[in-house]
């Protein structure tokens, strides 16, 4: 194949890796789609060769981006270590790459939105020194609640909003599989939390959001995914969602050795109010020594016997929270600045289908001329280069 290039800007190998990871294609699969050899894709990804315009266009078509996408800066490589994954060691590498790529692209979208709109500033307190004893983590969670005006003893009705108001960009993506609940990144211009939209339990989502917040508060710049950091994030989540001052006040003390049906009903009532699973509530009660190890063990056995450790009854689950900030930003862009979703895709050099996957917004088919781009979108796009 002839290799002619009409641009002097270098082809970004990291952007190719990013787009290929997002598309979940192996080098061989991508090579087949664009009719080149796998070896050639390898050369492109290690920077030994540059593609012709024709091949760059074919790569873009195969990966859901415009050819210009590959010419941009090289600062968007995957850097998987920046993302906090639970079960990192047991999650397939391909899944981690695909999800990380999704997170990176979502971060690019948020960067763009940051340039055309005023989003809440990143206001996540960083309390790295708290990642020590359980008491320190409890205090860190309380500091966080106090800093955001949430008090120390009340349930949160919407934790997604809580995070978004603190400047955390939250998104939910399908296809996360069984292994991954959520993952997050605290580097970049703002913190990002990505939820697995395949997991439909509302109480689990609440806890996942708080768990990722724990990483953002406690583990900035640290490698996560270890058992210690995951346990710390769990302690933080528990303390943030079920703060001890409120929990101690409301947790019903069991009066009998064997918990009765009516006692379990009280726990499910507590779940309704605190939007957290009964399993998490009983664990919290044990951690705060409101029940002893034997009582907790019996409760755990019962939860297991009922199959509630895999999922508690759907009619007791809180509504599944959905991210709001980015979808609302699209509404405001169009209403106030006449910037349509299609313009955003163009500014980012993504195909519309890619924007739909990343942002969860529909990108209507363009009826007018294809080269008409909003001025605001174009200016923001220019500033990014």
């Amino acid at each position: 194949m002839m290799t002619t290039r009409t641009t002097s800007r270098p082809f970004s190998r990291t952007r190719l890796q990013l787009a290929r990871s997002f598309a979940a294609l192996t080098q061989a699969e991508l090579a087949e789609k664009v009719s080149v050899t796998q070896q050639f894709i390898g050369y492109l990804e290690n920077g030994r060769k540059q593609p012709s315009d024709l091949v760059a266009a074919a790569l873009g078509d195969a990966l859901g981006v415009e050819p210009e996408f590959f010419l941009e800066g090289s600062t968007d490589d995957l850097r998987i270590e920046e993302w906090s994954f639970r079960k990192y060691q047991t999650t397939p590498a391909g899944t981690i790459h695909r999800l990380s790529a999704h997170g990176v692209l979502f971060g690019q979208l948020v960067d763009y939105l940051d340039q055309v709109l005023k989003l809440p500033k990143d206001d996540v307190p960083v309390i790295e020194s708290a990642a020590g004893s359980r008491e320190q983590i409890e205090e860190a969670a309380e500091q966080c609640r106090v800093a955001w005006g949430l008090g120390r003893d009340l349930p949160l009705k919407n934790i997604t909003r809580t995070l978004e108001r603190a400047g955390v960009a939250v998104t939910a993506i399908p296809g996360g599989g069984d292994k991954v609940d959520a993952f997050s990144r605290s580097s970049g211009t703002r913190s990002v939390v990505v939820l697995n939209d395949d997991k439909k339990f509302g109480s689990r989502r609440v806890f996942n959001l708080a768990h990722e917040l724990g990483h953002l508060v406690l583990h900035v710049g640290q490698e996560t995914g270890t058992h210690e950091t995951e346990d710390q994030a769990n302690v933080f989540a528990s303390a943030f969602v079920l703060p001890r001052a409120g929990f101690v006040k409301e947790f019903p003390r069991p009066k009998r050795e064997r918990w009765t049906t009516s006692y379990w009903a009280l726990l499910f009532e507590m779940k309704r109010r605190w939007r957290t699973s009964v399993a998490a509530i009983t664990r919290r009660a044990f951690d705060l020594r409101l029940i002893d190890a034997l009582q907790y063990q019996r409760a755990y056995k019962y939860l297991s016997f009922k199959g509630w450790l895999r999922g508690e009854p759907s009619n007791t689950e809180p509504e599944l929270e959905q991210p709001e900030m980015v979808p609302r930003a699209f509404g405001i862009l169009e209403a106030r600045l006449s910037v349509r979703a299609r313009d955003v895709a163009k500014a980012l050099n993504w195909k519309p289908a890619t924007l739909e996957k990343i942002a969860g917004v529909s990108v209507p088919t363009e009826s007018g001329p294809d080269d008409v781009v909003s001025l605001v979108a174009r200016r923001a796009s220019t500033r990014r280069l």
């Binding site: 047991t90 909003r161 951690d287 907790y296 063990q297 405001i332 209403a335």
Partner: protein, 195 residues
């Protein structure tokens, strides 16, 4: 002593996290992995030099902790009912090393009569994750005494608001266009519908 409990707990939880029955794991493989990881973490702790009172003897699967020279065997199970294998190995160690007393927290324990030895029990839940770690003394007959649960101290702070107050209900995040006033969620949503 809390540091021993913490390391043992982390080791066991890390093994439990990897437990995958669908790939052929069973309680035996979980137990083997948990044992090896616990030995490893405790050995690393002893080698760190931060705990001069802690010594380890390890030969293949044989493993014993020494706290200020006093042998301490660990096992998974109830603190009240150590099994016969644990009792035998604990007694063997005690006879080998001679029994000494151990200080726990601020309490002083009187010198024990012969035949009693120290154990660390790791009590677990159904998934094999740590529920509680205990230090205890046992004898060859399976009797136990001085059972100390290791608890990470948590203070319970006072209540600061009225009973059953409503939960915190926040407005959506504020978004504005540079140069314009902040758009409230309701205003924006209405505007979007109008458009």
């Amino acid at each position: 002593m809390e540091v021993l409990a913490r390391e043992a707990s982390l080791a066991r939880n890390s093994a439990a996290d990897l437990y995958d029955p669908l790939s052929g794991d069973d309680p035996w493989s979980l137990g083997c992995r948990a044992y090896s990881r616990t030995c490893f973490r405790l050995e690393m702790l002893a080698e760190s030099g931060e705990y001069p009172w802690l010594k380890i003897t390890r030969r293949n699967l044989y493993f014993t902790l020494f706290v200020d020279g006093v042998p301490l065997k660990f096992y998974r199970g109830s603190a009240e009912q150590p099994n016969s294998r644990t009792l035998k190995s604990g007694l063997d160690e005690a006879l080998r090393a001679g029994q000494e007393r151990l200080p726990f927290y601020d309490q002083e324990i009187s010198r024990e009569e012969e035949g009693w030895f120290w154990l660390m029990a790791i009590d677990t839940d159904q998934d094999g994750r740590t529920l509680q770690v205990y230090f205890l003394q046992a004898n060859r007959d399976g009797e136990t005494k001085n059972i100390f649960p290791v608890v990470e101290t948590l203070s319970v702070v006072g209540v600061v608001s009225d009973d059953r107050a409503e939960g915190i209900d926040l407005e959506p995040a504020e978004i504005s266009v540079p140069g314009e006033d902040t758009l409230s969620a309701s205003k924006t949503d209405d505007d979007d519908e109008d458009n």
